[in-house]
């Protein structure tokens, strides 16, 4: 009898293990790439990360780098038949040169290099609604936009706030970098409105599972009012995309604030903690503007190559059976 019970327990445990493994398999079916929408050149390091402010003649590696080039990273996530973008970069057209930026490439062109067409994109989850993260929306005709209601509330709050120094768009050249909701340009709002009009917008309230295992986590005020993270299961473990809540990967690793702008630094740290909790560390946190992106110094993104117009792209994880897109 004892032996029978032991055998049944063994069978049960094995069955559970198999089910768990199957479940894990079902949730680790995403392939992930990172593409650089553009690069902001020669940004003073201290403006990006106050703890890294340049001190002339300093030999301290924390403070001896005057400027950095900041990529604008976009996540490309393929889960079965679904193609998801996390953030959508921004659009540089013939007339919008964005002084100080380089290597801009159209996201549809970058996707082509990965073997995808723009009309295959089914979902765009924007980490927040700033112009350099929520652009190009109208170039993805079949994509449904996911944005937090709190993000929209934050814009409305700023629009209606009775102080003209606290406004929703740049009201002074270079002078509106740290006011609430600053960074929402007319073009970005128009494109979001276009998605709403087309019935292709999901207004998210907090946490949401967009596909099995693909989960949006709110990170309110970790950069903007309605910032959101995206958890993605892959063959190398879970990843968490953070947009500007995770502006710098080094900042997550070393617990420093980055890209403070409208950021509540405590909420940014809580967002970092969320990545540690979900992924078990800092290695799989995907940062939007990490200067070390596409190099060995940010290992997650080191499998990189050059894309259109000198932009860079990296292959982060492949689902079983997925072919490499690296040339």
């Amino acid at each position: 009898m004892k032996n029978l019970v032991a055998a049944l327990v063994t069978v049960g445990v094995t069955a559970l293990g198999t089910m768990g493994s199957a479940l894990a398999q079902a949730q680790t079916n995403c392939s992930v790439w990172l593409v650089e929408s553009s690069r902001f050149m020669n940004v003073p390091f201290g403006a990006f990360m106050p703890d890294r402010a340049y001190v002339p003649d300093s030999t301290n590696p924390m403070n001896n780098i005057p400027t950095v080039d900041l990529p604008v990273n976009v996540g490309v996530i393929k889960c079965g038949e679904e193609l998801i973008l996390y953030d959508s970069g921004w659009k540089q057209q013939d007339y919008l040169q964005m002084t100080g930026s380089d290597h801009w490439a159209a996201l549809p062109e970058q996707l082509k290099m990965l073997g995808f067409q723009a009309d295959q994109v089914t979902k765009i989850v924007v980490g927040h609604g700033h112009w350099d993260h929520a652009g190009q929306l109208s170039d993805f005709p079949n994509a449904v936009l996911y944005i937090q209601r709190e993000e929209l509330n934050g814009i409305e709050w700023a629009l209606n706030y009775p102080n003209d120094k606290i406004s929703a768009v740049n009201t002074d050249p270079g002078g509106c970098m740290r006011t609430p909701a600053c960074g929402y340009t007319p073009l970005t709002l128009d494109e979001i409105y276009g998605k709403v009009l087309a019935g292709q917008a999901v207004i998210v309230d907090g946490e949401m599972e967009v596909l099995p295992g693909i989960r949006i986590h709110p990170a309110f005020r970790a950069h903007t009012a309605g910032s959101q993270l995206l958890e993605v299961p892959t063959s190398i473990g879970k990843l968490v995309f953070g947009s500007d809540a995770y502006s710098s990967w080094e900042a997550i690793r070393d617990w420093m604030v980055a890209n403070v702008q409208q950021t509540d630094s405590v909420q940014q740290f809580l967002a970092y903690e969320k990545c540690y909790n979900i992924t078990g560390g800092y290695e799989n946190c995907v940062a939007a503007h990490e200067p070390l992106s596409y190099t060995d110094k940010y290992p997650l993104t080191k499998n990189a190559w050059e894309g259109p117009n000198g932009s860079r792209m990296a292959e982060i994880a492949l689902a079983p059976g997925e072919r490499s897109r690296k040339p």
Binding site: L96, N170, P173, L187, I192, Y193, I203
Partner: protein, 194 residues
């Protein structure tokens, strides 16, 4: 044996010839309509954006003193226009999400329409250096587009037709792209990394 005319060395049935003639006539007529529409569209675009090429093709260069004065004078107007444009899109979003009804949308958009009109009046009163005239005209055209977009949104509150909202959004989008073009020339670095 088949009867009829020969086409490419093979006999063709007379009925088939009639069908071919009819089909050719229809195709030619359709081509004519498409050609006319295309010409009309191009003509209309030229009429609404008369200085597009001049503005786009002009290389980025430092502004002269009087051009800087013009840019400085236009800036406060531009700042208000951008805020109004964002507010207009936002009003449309709130309406479509069911958070606001028609009367509320109208109450929000009508003042924005007025603000675009007022901005136009103020912009018209500016002293414009000759080199900036094409650009200035384009800015005024963008303001008119915004004003028309607002009018379309108000129309939607009256007959409930989304077509007005779609038309308005497209107008607003074109106006927005235009003021971006102009902004990139007058205020390079207007938008900072965020």
């Amino acid at each position: 044996m088949m009867r009829g005319i020969r086409l490419a060395g093979r006999p063709v049935d007379p009925a088939a010839r009639v069908r071919i003639l009819l089909l050719s006539t229809v195709v030619l007529a359709l081509l004519g309509v498409v050609g006319y529409a295309l010409q009309r569209e191009l003509t209309r675009q030229q009429a609404t954006t008369p200085v597009a090429t001049a503005v786009i093709d002009e290389p980025v260069r430092a502004l002269t003193g009087e051009e800087q004065d013009y840019a400085a004078a236009l800036w406060p107007i531009h700042s208000e226009v951008k805020l109004s444009a964002v507010a207009m899109s936002f009003a449309g979003i709130a309406y479509k999400l069911g958070e606001q009804n028609g009367p509320t949308l109208e109450a929000r958009v009508q003042p924005l329409a007025d603000s675009f009109g007022a901005a136009m009046m103020r912009a018209r009163a500016l002293r414009v250096p000759p080199s900036m005239v094409p650009l200035h005209e384009r800015y005024l055209a963008a303001l008119a587009q915004y004003e028309n977009a607002a009018a379309e949104m108000v129309s939607a509150t009256r007959d409930g037709k989304d077509a007005h909202l779609l038309a308005g959004q497209q107008m607003s989008l074109r106006a927005t792209e235009d003021i971006l073009r102009i902004g990139d020339m007058l205020w390079p670095g207007e938008y900072k990394p965020h």
